[in-house]
Symmetry: C2
Subunit: 433 residues, 2 copies
Amino acid sequence: MEDDIYLSYLFRPKSIAVIGVSKTPGKMGYEILTNIVRYGFQGPIFPVNPKYKEIHDIRCYKTILDITDDIDLAILVSPIERIPKILGELKAKGVKVAVVISGRRGDLSSLPIVELARKYGIKILGPSSMGIFHAGSKLNAALGPLSVIEGSVGLIMESRTLGMALMGLTTVEGIGLSAVVGLGDKLDINESDILDFLMRDRSTRSILMHLEKINDPESLIDILKNSINSKPVVILSSASDVREKLESFDGYIPIVDDVEQALDLVLVMAGKRIKGNRVLIVTNSGGAGKLITGLSNQTKIKLSRPSEDLIDQIRQFVPEGGICSSNPIDITGRAGTDIYRGILDVVLSSDDFDGIIAIYCETALSDPLRLASMFYELWELYEKPIIPVMMGGEKSKEAVLQLRRKGIPAYSSPCRAMRAIDSLIKISSFSNQ
Amino acid sequence: MEDDIYLSYLFRPKSIAVIGVSKTPGKMGYEILTNIVRYGFQGPIFPVNPKYKEIHDIRCYKTILDITDDIDLAILVSPIERIPKILGELKAKGVKVAVVISGRRGDLSSLPIVELARKYGIKILGPSSMGIFHAGSKLNAALGPLSVIEGSVGLIMESRTLGMALMGLTTVEGIGLSAVVGLGDKLDINESDILDFLMRDRSTRSILMHLEKINDPESLIDILKNSINSKPVVILSSASDVREKLESFDGYIPIVDDVEQALDLVLVMAGKRIKGNRVLIVTNSGGAGKLITGLSNQTKIKLSRPSEDLIDQIRQFVPEGGICSSNPIDITGRAGTDIYRGILDVVLSSDDFDGIIAIYCETALSDPLRLASMFYELWELYEKPIIPVMMGGEKSKEAVLQLRRKGIPAYSSPCRAMRAIDSLIKISSFSNQ
């Protein structure tokens, strides 16, 4: 356990030094300090650069040694050649962990960074890390957007630039983040160390991990085996090596090469578990229902017919011309929020199905935002997952985003929902093993 | 050719009667009339409903027979039971083509609609059609959004509700439309009639067709064989019957069941052709480059190394730490617009590659909107296609939308771009046969 103290300093520092700050927007030393300050970090922040007296109205220090207070976490943005010297100063200050933003991935030159860090007892994240974000600590020390949706998805990114873009994409896709960690070159702290921590981090409910290689396959497989039943993981990778090393999970852990799909899956996994594979589709478009049904053959999803008893209960809500004895249930384009609500209540209370996909194609008859509020209510009310699909113009888009920002796995296309629930079934069946 | 006159009335009417209008928002008879009026149709509009004297400040007629002017196109929104009687009145007025919005798809009751229409010499689109939109005629007689991005993609939709949602989705996804046609039950006018017309419609450059069944496979295959070299078609369907009937195209025509993918593909096909499969990837993120490279094995895309000569020309632009002798070319996270521009100019002028995927992961160093303007310039300047991938937060999203609205196939994830260019290569190789 003592080993882990550095992780507390990393994720929950009480004070931060940023070494190599800059006043030039666009430069990493500007962007990262600005994010830390503006995101509202609560403890003291110590910028270091001999050129400045102050930056963002905060006193700027000539060297690390000029700082008299304790430093829990050091963020290093100076040119990579200076890192060895800086490590020496960090040791003198008693700093236990440093995030090295500097450096180009793969280009580890011949600097004795790890050797020195080990000698000095300093743990290193990086080099070429994108930094660290932890919502619970109001800590945004990442090269990425300033404004982040806070939520329960953890991101672990090996690539710095891809990580920045992906973190940006979460704001556009409505994905709430609990933590972001840039692994960079993983010279010291590796994927298993961070995964292990996030597995125990209570604000994180599912994890997306970008990997190009695995430093410590044994530890990683161990952690995954022990923990993915409580906290699912999605791997973003196209490296055959990563795929081979994780093949013992036999599809239970999704390994995808599409960033949007990765976000879709980690979103559904941050929500509820599903107890089985019996899924009912309710749709206001027969055409959308048919599209999605074809896809189910390639998944573990079982679209069985509702029981006679359930059909009897559903029938009262289905408008004329609808179909209630099949799966999908077709409630026709004239269905408004009340019809969805009536049917969903009945199905969520029954034992026939383990989850629901509710497809809504935008019509002038019903307000997507009102429908979204209803989906949210049902999500809170019942144990079983309901996956809303809301397809249409700006209003539907906004409805999907509103739901996502609350942690509800809503999608803008039936296919995306289908793939998501399929992954959820797989990971849940791993838990049930 | 005489046969086709009804199609001119359908797509380019000089006057429209809307039978069964309503003053209640949400009702089809309100929505469709409102779209026609507000979208700015240039000719006379004749609403018909005995209950009203006027609607939207336009005189409303008791019956069709009260209209003294000629009617090129009749839009029927009255209850389906009244359609036979209305057809009789349309015949008396000499109307040649009617769009039947009314009705539930598949529920054709026992009304002699087609029989009467044939007897009266009236062509019927529908029943249960979502209506018709034709940008060139300022005609928005569709159940769908009022505001549409005008462009060069034609949509042919069998399902009414799915069609409405998909038309809405084009506004969110930045896809410009030339025409939308709701086939509905296809009792009379079928998929081949409409496809044939759009193949000859100069404002349409590619076509997305939603099909659950094919009424006239022989005609459809004939049209596709003769025309997809000049105007590509994407099929949205999960019906095995549709797949089987089109299997002679052996993958040249994409048949997809994902609405977003369908839009992605029809967008790239509305742009430029590609002469071969040699694609160069330029990326500011090595990580993103690696993700996309893995995917290329499942496609027809050939990622060959640039020639020594080309490498020499590229080298001058690549920042320190970048890689210019491979594919992808890694220009590092520090690359700004000028670096992209320099390299793209050189590659687009060379004979080494047939197309480029330019990946940009959002960084604080470069402005996505400025980059988008540059991509647009290059798109206009060179014959070869350049497919921008811009991934990040709101600015990148907006950049992608700006490009898309101008008809440039830009994407927010490398995978989506890869699938799009793969489809483009396939369809282009069909043309080259």
